[in-house]
Amino acid sequence: MTDPYKVLGVQPSASDEEIKDAYRKLAKKYHPDQYAESPLKDLADEKMKEINEAYDTVTAQRRGGGGYYNGAQNPVGGNRNSGFSDVRSLIMSGRIADAEQILNGVPPERRNAEWYFLKGSVLYRRGWLEEAKDHFSRACQLDPGNGEYSAALNQAMNQRGGMYGGYNPNQSMNGSCNTCDMCSGLLLADCCCECMGGDLIRCC
């Protein structure tokens, strides 16, 4: 086995706190939920396993202790009431092309919310992110209350916001603070003061 300290990216002289920190960072980076819809899931799982093993070894060496990761959940799960259980199992086993072929064979009048969700999942795995988003939104329109569909749409929308890669225009760069931030900060502080019976800015 490789050196567990190397896997965690810390020196053997690192403190327990540093090791925990390094483990948390890595666990966040390789967290299987992020890769749930990606063909790289196996590789991410493998990495996660390596990190868990390394962390367990290190903590055992240093007198044992917790920090286990619980298994991942795959968004395209089995569903008892599904009209497309065959497609779901194909997607789960990674046979994307077969799943798509079945979906494309479904006549337009039978294409319900689940069809759009599954087609979106197939497109998402292939990397066709624009059409995937359109299909997820359509699924949510047809069945607004479904948690599975809205979770998929949310994930796609979050990634478009630039938090996970790319550029987010609304984020202030380098943690800088502009005049608007200062004013709104003062207003908030004033509101808080007023809630507690005091007053920070007399005129508002």
Binding site: E46, G127, E131, K133, R160, G162, G165, G166
Partner: protein
């Protein structure tokens, strides 16, 4: 569609920046040695990134050497030499991509506007055949991608199918860097796929206004419902660029996920800088600061 894949300099260590520059100079030198001095004009950031990634995947030994700059004899340059094929492959890629770009221009533009491309083409074509002889796989992948690209654009396809050829080209090129049984090969392929997709979308977003003006094809035009428009009002333009930025963000997020899983030697930090911060910076410069429309003097203030 060149020059979009580059690191965010402000976020680099000084030593990483020096390495990046030295690798860039080495690629320039290799291009000159392999394909003649004029071929140096084909040098691009993208191919420099390809060379760095190749060196990081193979872990080939590198060493620094100080010598004169090949273009300016008064300037001293640091070169980052490597024993392996990495730079030569990157040089071949530069030549092949330039060749296909010139050929593309011939088809797209009027006779006079493509006059420059017409004059260069026979020369570049000879060099491209030389590159093809050395790296038939690279040449074949590039030729197939360009053909599929032409077809997708002729069919006026949507954003995803239009981006597919470039995405697959980079996917193939990156996957080929690792040994067939290497476990990180799928991650490399996926990284290449989304980087290629990002490059295509970035180029399309960058060209959007020009394509509208000239009535040329651009996959974002139909996607954003801008058919028939020639000029965009400022608020329309902002809305279009925000929408393009979102598509780019989704793609960059996937590229970053794949890059997380790569085990890189040599220039790992530079590759990560490109994936996590470089792409974001290019989006900001082009879609929000509009650097290409500003005079140089104004840019220095930014």
């Amino acid at each position: 569609m060149f020059g979009y894949v580059r690191p965010n300099k402000a976020e680099m260590l000084v030593k990483e920046y020096a390495q990046y520059k030295a690798a860039y100079c080495q690629l320039c030198k290799t291009l000159g040695q392999e394909y003649g001095p004029l071929a140096r004009m084909a040098l691009s950031y993208d191919c420099a990134f390809y060379a760095l990634l190749a060196l990081s995947v193979t872990g080939g030994a590198v060493r620094e050497r100080r010598a004169r700059c090949v273009c300016n004899p008064l300037k001293a340059c640091v070169y980052l030499e490597a024993e392996g094929e990495e730079y030569k492959k990157a040089a071949a890629l530069c030549v092949l991509l330039t060749f296909h770009k010139l050929r593309d221009d011939l088809g797209d533009r009027s006779f006079f506007r493509s006059l420059g491309s017409r004059m260069l083409l026979p020369y570049v074509g000879r060099k491209a055949r030389k590159a093809e002889g050395r790296y038939p796989l690279l040449a074949q992948a590039a030729a197939e991608a360009m053909e599929a690209q032409r077809q997708a654009e002729a069919e006026r396809a949507g954003v995803d199918p239009c981006a597919e050829p470039t995405a697959c080209l980079l996917g193939t090129l990156f996957a080929e860097l690792a040994q067939p049984e290497d476990r990180q090969r799928p991650a490399l392929e996926r990284f290449g796929y989304f980087l290629g997709r990002w490059v295509y979308l970035m180029d399309a977003a960058d060209d959007l206004r020009e394509d509208l003006r000239e009535g040329a094809f651009n996959p974002f035009i139909r996607r954003l419902g801008l058919e028939g428009k020639r000029e965009l009002a400022p608020e329309e333009r902002q809305a279009a660029e925000t929408a393009c930025n979102e598509a780019l963000n989704a793609t960059a997020a996937q590229a970053a996920l794949a890059a997380n899983l790569l085990e890189l030697e040599n220039f790992g930090p530079i590759v990560r800088n490109v994936a996590e911060k470089g792409l974001a910076e290019v989006q900001r410069e082009i879609l929000f600061l509009h650097v290409k429309e500003k005079p140089r003097r104004e840019l220095e203030k930014l």
